[in-house]
Symmetry: C2
Subunit: 224 residues, 2 copies
């Protein structure tokens, strides 16, 4: 869509229907630089097409953490956008083109995301905060009415929270809702730890394959 | 969340993962009146819970058309919100508490939706336009890069379009994109008609059950 001008930053939320992972495309409408948050390998072609539709150049492929339920799409996106740099937190212990720490900014054109360490679900979990649009991308650190360890105590109540998963088809939440309605955020620390230790959830189906792959941009080990 | 004030209109997009139907909740933050667009019977409990979480009173349950792929949730939502009125277009031939025509407004508190006739997919298809937030809810009249009969020629290019379905997990589009990238909107009328007559798509699985039920708020015929 070269020549057709958007007047505001570009933003799209996307769903991958097998792992129910939510992916986000954010673009600077002036410089056409863009980032993608939590891309999935299975939907890489869709994401590449959308970026091209928007005439965007992908500069960063960010993951909120080393996912256990799907393989990241960063290695596939890099083939279409060779200058794309993958991003993971240093605390994750994974490999990426750029390792980030709490407080760092990730710039795309005139827009930027602030990195906030939000460990709990994994040691390397980060939340990316887009101050300009008052949106936060929490990955699995905070889900709708679930999970829970979060650093939003100082957050603005109206800020929209874009989560990494939701199995009921709820696509967004807000600080206001989670502070009041999230059963895991209204417990004492002791009760919270007890709850989290007794969830007894089954391991994600793709755990054994996904975690090692996601430690290095989604490249699957070649067994031959 | 009584007593907790939102400072802007409330808006949420939701997904029903079996029919990939997209449902929308829109609320007036001042009067707490709300509407729901294209609710699904299977997710009625989720929607009722969300409306209660937001301390919203549902005044209208709107359908963009008589759906063939799922049963509307209006009859279930009315049990939780007895003053809710269902809305369908008069041109649909269906029954509803309120039948609307092109150009009419549907008011919820200080907010309103304008009804626009967008026939094609069905004779009774309408698009609801939320001018205040520059958003349009097209149901199946316009899908992302697909389907096509639409009345948006006068639309603002940046306006966001919220569609009724997308099987690739793309949740929104814009007038700008569809005018330029939708293969069905860049054809001549003759070619468009030829394409649409030769799609040879299978009937939706729930067609025989859904259409008669959706002609009257989703009440399924009792065969006894
Ligand atoms: Fe995770
Ligand atoms: Fe339809």
């Amino acid at each position: 869509m070269r020549g057709l001008a958007f007047s505001t930053p570009i933003f799209r939320q996307l769903v991958e229907f097998q792992s129910y992972t939510y992916t986000y495309i954010l673009g600077c409408e002036k410089t056409r630089q863009a980032v993608i948050i939590d891309p999935v390998d299975k939907t890489a072609d869709r994401d590449i097409q959308l970026l091209k539709d928007f005439d965007l150049n992908l500069v960063y492929g960010l993951n909120t953490h080393v996912h256990a339920d799907h393989i990241t799409g960063t290695h596939l996106l890099r083939k279409a956008f060779p200058s794309m740099k993958s991003v993971l937190s240093r605390a994750s212990g994974g490999k990426a083109d750029r390792l980030v720490d709490d407080g760092e900014d990730v710039q795309f054109g005139e827009q930027k995301l602030e990195v906030r360490a939000t460990p709990g679900h994994t040691n390397g979990c980060v939340t990316y905060v887009w101050h300009e649009l008052r949106r936060a991308f929490t990955g699995d650190s905070l889900l709708v009415r679930a999970c829970g360890r979060t650093d939003f105590q100082e957050g603005n109540a109206a800020a929209l929270i874009f989560i990494g998963h939701n199995y009921n088809g709820i696509l967004q939440t807000s600080v206001l809702e989670e502070k009041n309605l999230n059963p895991r955020l209204t417990k004492t620390e002791e009760k919270f730890l007890e709850t989290m230790e007794n969830l007894h959830l089954a391991h994600p189906k793709q755990l054994d394959e996904a975690v090692p792959a996601n430690m290095k941009d989604g490249e699957v080990e070649n067994s031959s």
